[in-house]
Symmetry: C2
Subunit: 598 residues, 2 copies
């Protein structure tokens, strides 16, 4: 159809897909795809977060799922668009159990990428808009209880006389976003958080911290930031927002509560979780356990010879309060990622003598450039003016499979290199080991592959260029002495403070600590794609390992990531948990074996 | 132009207005209006909230204001519409100091109604969207303070070493909405609130209370309710929302603070306000004083002979905690408006023997019918689906001058009578004295004329129809005895509890109490239109007396009303205050003398 419009071509393709699926013809449906093609499914077909790559794999996935999923009612929404020979279209569809939303990219009238997402479970829709709760039952009822009484009753019962269905360990943005979605779906949930107040996980970080992502990328579900919210939220303001959010969303959020141990009864299909709430031991019996203890996992504290002899102060970056009080002191920051740069800059602002130890090469994006090239096309004022709301942006982002994402990202970083050439020149001259990723795909790919290896520059790089933050590059720490650090090149630096900005381990480390090493090993490494690049060993997974989807341990889930991911993927994790609460059949397609222990 | 489109006709009219105003031709501009016409101005031309009625008055207003206002740049936005011979159009315009938004209704190519509103002051725009604060200053600055430190400093200084420009007495939704707007305009403001916590003005009311207006009508500025918020907010949930709102908006909100006395220094143009904060006396020196102590003013406690002898419990409805604990007791509720009905129903729910004393006739709207006919066309899901956002709805509502509002309202109540005929029949049979307003214009007109005289039925009327709540109608209280109430018809009822749901006085009663009777009398009655209907004596004012606009007492302002009014009019009060802070010329046109003391 050379003269047809993109909308006509997309509609024809969707009709063909519908016909093939309706007649149960997996091969016929797969034939509608390019050889090099991707079907990314978020919980609609696979009860998993799964990208199926290539015709054969797509046919296999459909053979396994079609009988139960019974997809139907495919309808284009809006007009398709076309650019560079690729037509793009949005559509809705249904399955036996859910209503869905999807996106297709067509190349020569065959699908190159397909996204299918479950948006709501039939019969278990969120009560909102027209269908919202009335608030009061009009009429007069002897013995009626008001909202405050019912809320107090629920709070008094949950976890004591009534067990939560879901227990979320960790009350940062991840746990909070998920709990808000579960609340709307009427899934009884408790979040346990060791800190005094919701938001403390931000408040307790170093003083100069602001979010590294801009506000448009950082909304929580259901309650967007007001339109004057600063581009980069200061940490305490973010903490206060989370605390207000918890109250407004009426989450069952237990502060000052530490999780000590969890074990799963395979017969009862139930967890036994020992927590200490406000100093008092308690046992909870949830069916589902979500670890939302930070995508970054447990702090990785290195073990250098002689550390125990050091007479100054030393701590992991996660424990570092800020630069105050170090005026005139010798400070060493081991590491060269975001926290290392922020901490070094703050120490310098407070008059310390700072040296950053760069052990391996690091990517640096200037914050403004990254926002303009990387974020604003989807999340920002110009995108909003074009009708790309935050929800829409999340779906557009989700429509690009990880297998193609690197290619989609490379032009951004090619442009960044051109635009900030002088800056990068200066940085290299200072001795800084700079990279743009193994394949030049930049920051976001490093983030999803390894969760490390970059700095979003908000000023510290200039301090390095100017020699104000001293740089020691390409060395490792050989030994810590009483008042100094000895390096692999034989040099030695005096030190009053050592900050180990040495990152975090895999999230299954939390499972090892809370449950058992056996379960941690069964589940395997979290995060990363299997891209066979630095710190992300193969085989290729096509999705982030173990995140927001079923794991090898029944009833155990991992939730985390940045605010964008916490917001968007909490939607799909919440649907998976709700379906299980309601006893819907949830056969998981393509559960991945663990290839790496951590 | 018989064949022209409504848009063409509106554009032509706007061009004529622009031409007349640009050449300073007040008569020529007035000639563009119908004989029977209304120009409603919210702070754009008059630095007042002022409706000018008829050609001659419009010409006078323009003569007085044009020289300073210098209006220009009139531009239609979107397409005009036409129905029943009336064309309607939206437009933007500028003045010397402000950017504005307006609306016109044309009848036979002359203006029937014109609305002009100031939206922002040039050079003092709110920092939002693209222009929002960055949050952190990128770069590295020795000695920099973070958000939490700067906030703590401001809180420590304001009211102690640094005086607020505006002091708001009363921290309910009115004071809160206004303070949020002033915060965005960088006007140093303190709210003082006598209660322990923000939101207590709702929490402390009777237990069964829910908002009587639906959620779409109740948003505060800048932070709309989430889309699952109940249609009728339970009082405690509303209280919690206000408390979170105060924190999120970073308002300087002093709880446990009572205002004792205020006096104005006419020379210094400054108030001296004695407050007691947390038990400690303090003096504040604001330039502007806003009374936001409740549109309804101080509780009107009646004085019946013998009240002091009553051995049971008696209190004003504002002090009534709810029906609990009155099982089997004899309860009398004096009054027949919203609170009286809610309180009587709750007492009945708790097993009390309740009699309502209806002293004069009352309007009743069934809640569902009122929402469907009265609210949903502007504030509701269907309106939203048509693109009528809450802000837009507020402007549409504002576009109808009070002089026409009764006529606009009558068809709603004619339809209500038809639709709920059986219900009204039953109510009358029970002896209930029912009305639809002096001129059949219904509930909202009663609200703006007198702030009383109606019940939005959520169930109590059926209890009256069924005789479960007993009704004593058309009598007044003659005397209170030790254990009973004696009525004007000679009958007597035993009583363990008497609730006086006898309403509230005019807001200038607060001025009498806090400032002086002299100032209260100078300012005169608040609220009401001068419609010459029951409890709203003339002369005709055309706007609510003293609300959200300059009063006869320099530096004294009244703010209040329902959530819709608190939201919408706070915008214009905030602009008036900001203009004065910045020393802009704000000549007030049409300041009204006080015709009534209370």
């Amino acid at each position: 159809m050379p003269d047809s419009t993109p909308t006509q071509r997309a509609a024809a393709w969707l009709a063909s897909l519908d016909a093939a699926l309706t007649r149960g013809d997996a091969q016929g449906a797969a034939a509608l795809f390019q050889d090099d093609s991707y079907w990314r499914d978020l919980v609609a077909f696979t009860w998993n977060i799964k990208t199926t790559e290539g015709k054969a794999a797509i046919a296999d996935m459909l053979k396994a799922t079609l009988g139960q999923v019974k997809p139907r009612g495919w309808k284009l929404t809006g007009e398709a668009t076309e650019a560079n020979g690729i037509a793009e279209a949005w559509f809705t569809f249904e399955t036996e159990l859910a209503r869905g939303l999807g996106h297709v990219r067509l190349k020569a009238d065959r699908a190159w990428t397909l996204l299918t997402t479950a948006q709501e479970l039939k019969g278990f829709e969120e009560k909102k808009g027209k269908n919202r709760w009335f608030g009061t039952e009009h009429g007069v009822f002897p013995g009626r209880k008001n909202w405050a009484e019912l809320k107090a009753e629920e709070e008094a019962a949950l976890g004591i006389t009534k067990q939560p269905y879901v227990l979320i360990i960790g009350g940062g943005q991840g746990g909070i976003a998920l709990a808000a979605r579960l609340k709307r779906l009427h899934v009884p949930t408790i979040i346990v958080e060791k800190n005094e107040r919701a938001g403390d996980s931000w408040r307790k970080r170093y003083k100069s911290l602001c979010l590294h992502d801009p506000v448009w990328y950082d909304h929580l579900p259901y309650l967007p930031f007001p339109d004057d919210w600063p581009v980069f939220s200061p940490k305490d303001k973010m903490g206060d927002w989370l605390e207000s959010y918890v109250k407004i969303m009426e989450l069952n959020y237990w502060t000052r509560t530490e999780c000590k141990r969890a074990s799963y009864d395979e017969k009862k299909k139930e967890w036994t979780v020992e927590v200490v709430r406000d100093g008092k031991p308690m046992t909870l019996k949830p069916k589902q356990l979500v670890l939302a203890t930070g995508q970054a996992g447990m702090p990785s504290m290195p073990t250098f010879p002689g550390m125990e002899k050091f007479k100054g102060k030393q701590h992991h970056s996660s424990k570092h309060p800020g630069g105050e009080g170090w005026e005139g002191k010798k400070c060493i920051v081991v590491g060269s990622n975001n926290s290392a740069h922020d901490i070094a800059a703050s120490l310098w602002e407070h008059g310390a003598d700072v040296t950053m130890i760069q052990r391996s090469s690091t990517h640096v994006s200037k914050s403004d450039t990254l926002m303009e090239l990387g974020t604003y096309p989807l999340w920002g004022e110009e995108a909003l003016a074009k009708g790309i709301t935050c929800d829409k942006a999340d779906l557009i982002a989700a429509s690009v499979p990880y297998g193609l994402l690197g290619e989609f990202q490379k032009p951004i970083y090619a442009e960044m290199k051109r635009r900030d050439a002088g800056f990068y020149e200066g940085l290299k001259k200072s001795g800084f080991m700079l990279d743009f990723g193994d394949d030049e795909s930049g920051l976001f790919m490093k983030y999803v592959r390894r969760g490390s290896g970059y700095y979003i520059d908000v000023g510290a790089s200039q301090l390095i260029i100017d020699g104000k933050i001293k740089l020691k590059s390409g060395v490792s720490v050989k030994e810590i002495k009483e008042h100094s650090v000895l390096f692999s090149d034989g040099s030695e630096l005096p030190a009053d403070l050592i900050v180990y900005a040495t990152g975090y381990g895999s999230m299954n480390g939390w499972a090892a600590q809370l449950i058992s090493q056996e379960v941690a090993d069964k589940v395997g490494k979290c995060w990363g794609l299997g891209s066979n690049t630095t710190k992300d060993p193969g085989p290729w997974e096509g999705e982030l390992r173990n995140m927001w989807k079923p794991t090898q341990q029944e009833g155990l889930w991992f939730h985390g990531g940045n605010l964008h991911q916490s917001r968007h993927y909490s939607q799909f994790l919440a649907l998976q948990l709700k379906a299980r609460l309601e006893g819907l059949p949830t056969p998981v397609y393509g559960l991945t074996p663990a290839h790496h222990l951590s």
